[in-house]
């Protein structure tokens, strides 16, 4: 339970940074499709966010906390539905979590190093 709460508070912290960079830094006469979701053509586009080491690290923090929180939450809901814990469900969710962490870290590192 404590792990679920701590990862949730981590999401609150890192998620706030993520939401701020995408949804609160764009010029408000445009939409985010024309601004913060552009590849690299303006200062607040996607790639400059990944190039900043601190923001890239906060994205990894968000990835880690969300993976733990989501997989643990799904495990809880499935256990509530079937009435007991199933070790195969646990194993599948751990495998999905490891894949998401590795794949997400790969995306962050590639975008960080892309020139």
């Amino acid at each position: 339970m404590l792990m679920h709460y701590l990862s949730g508070l981590g999401i609150l912290l890192f998620g706030a940074v993520h939401i701020f960079t995408i949804f609160f830094t764009y010029p408000f006469q445009a939409t985010i499709w024309e601004t913060t979701l552009k590849f690299d053509s303006i200062p607040f586009a996607i790639l400059p966010v990944y190039r900043n080491a601190l923001l890239a690290a906060s994205l990894f923090g968000l990835l880690l906390c969300t993976t733990v929180h989501a997989m643990n939450g799904l495990r809880t809901v499935i256990a509530e539905l079937v009435g007991f814990r199933n070790k195969w469900v646990d194993r599948i969710l751990i495998a999905v979590g490891v894949f998401l962490t590795v794949y997400g870290l790969r995306t962050i590192l590639i975008a960080h190093l892309l020139v």
């Binding site: 499709w33 939450g73 509530e80 794949y103 997400g104």
Partner: protein, 163 residues
């Protein structure tokens, strides 16, 4: 050990109990909304990681590609995602994320004994204890902030409130 049929019946019964909070109180609605938003946002999170992976070329790319290749991959992904259905879907996700976050904060505070009030002696024929006034206020604050998140996301993606 349950048979396959018994197991399926049990899951359906649990789903019915979990997802139909109508004749129960606000507490139950809070529980159901927290579960539904949690599962929906978890599934979105998986899709989001896969989708942002496509921004740099997809699952086959594990080294830093040419800049032009990544830019073209990003452009292709944006063309696929930029449509009203996706925009509205993302606004609904914004609603669910905000609801799950603020209602989750209320649950954390409650778990550690904040805002729950003092325990009292139950009287005969008394209604069972449910959310107190402060808890109810926080629940409705969560809903209000979630509605704001929905509207803000709609505006950020589609510019619906521009003159």
């Amino acid at each position: 050990m349950l048979s396959q049929r018994e197991g399926r019946t049990k899951v359906l019964q649990s789903l019915r109990v979990m997802l139909v909070p109508g004749r129960y109180g606000l507490e139950r609605w809070s529980f159901v909304l927290q579960r539904i938003s949690g599962v929906a946002v978890s599934l979105y999170f998986i899709a989001h990681i896969l989708e942002t992976g496509n921004f740099v070329g997809g699952i086959t790319v594990w080294t830093v590609p040419e800049y032009s290749f990544a830019e073209a991959a990003h452009q292709k992904s944006v063309e696929l995602l930029k449509n009203p259905v996706f925009d509205v879907g993302l606004a609904v996700i914004g609603f669910l994320v905000a609801l799950h976050t603020f209602n989750g904060l209320r649950l954390i505070l409650t778990h550690f004994g904040f805002l729950v009030g003092k325990p009292g002696r139950p009287e005969p024929f008394e209604q069972p204890a449910s959310l107190n006034a402060r808890q109810r206020a926080l629940f409705w604050l969560s809903i209000s902030l979630a509605v704001f998140a929905l509207l803000y996301t709609l505006d950020a993606l589609m510019g619906v409130f521009r003159v």
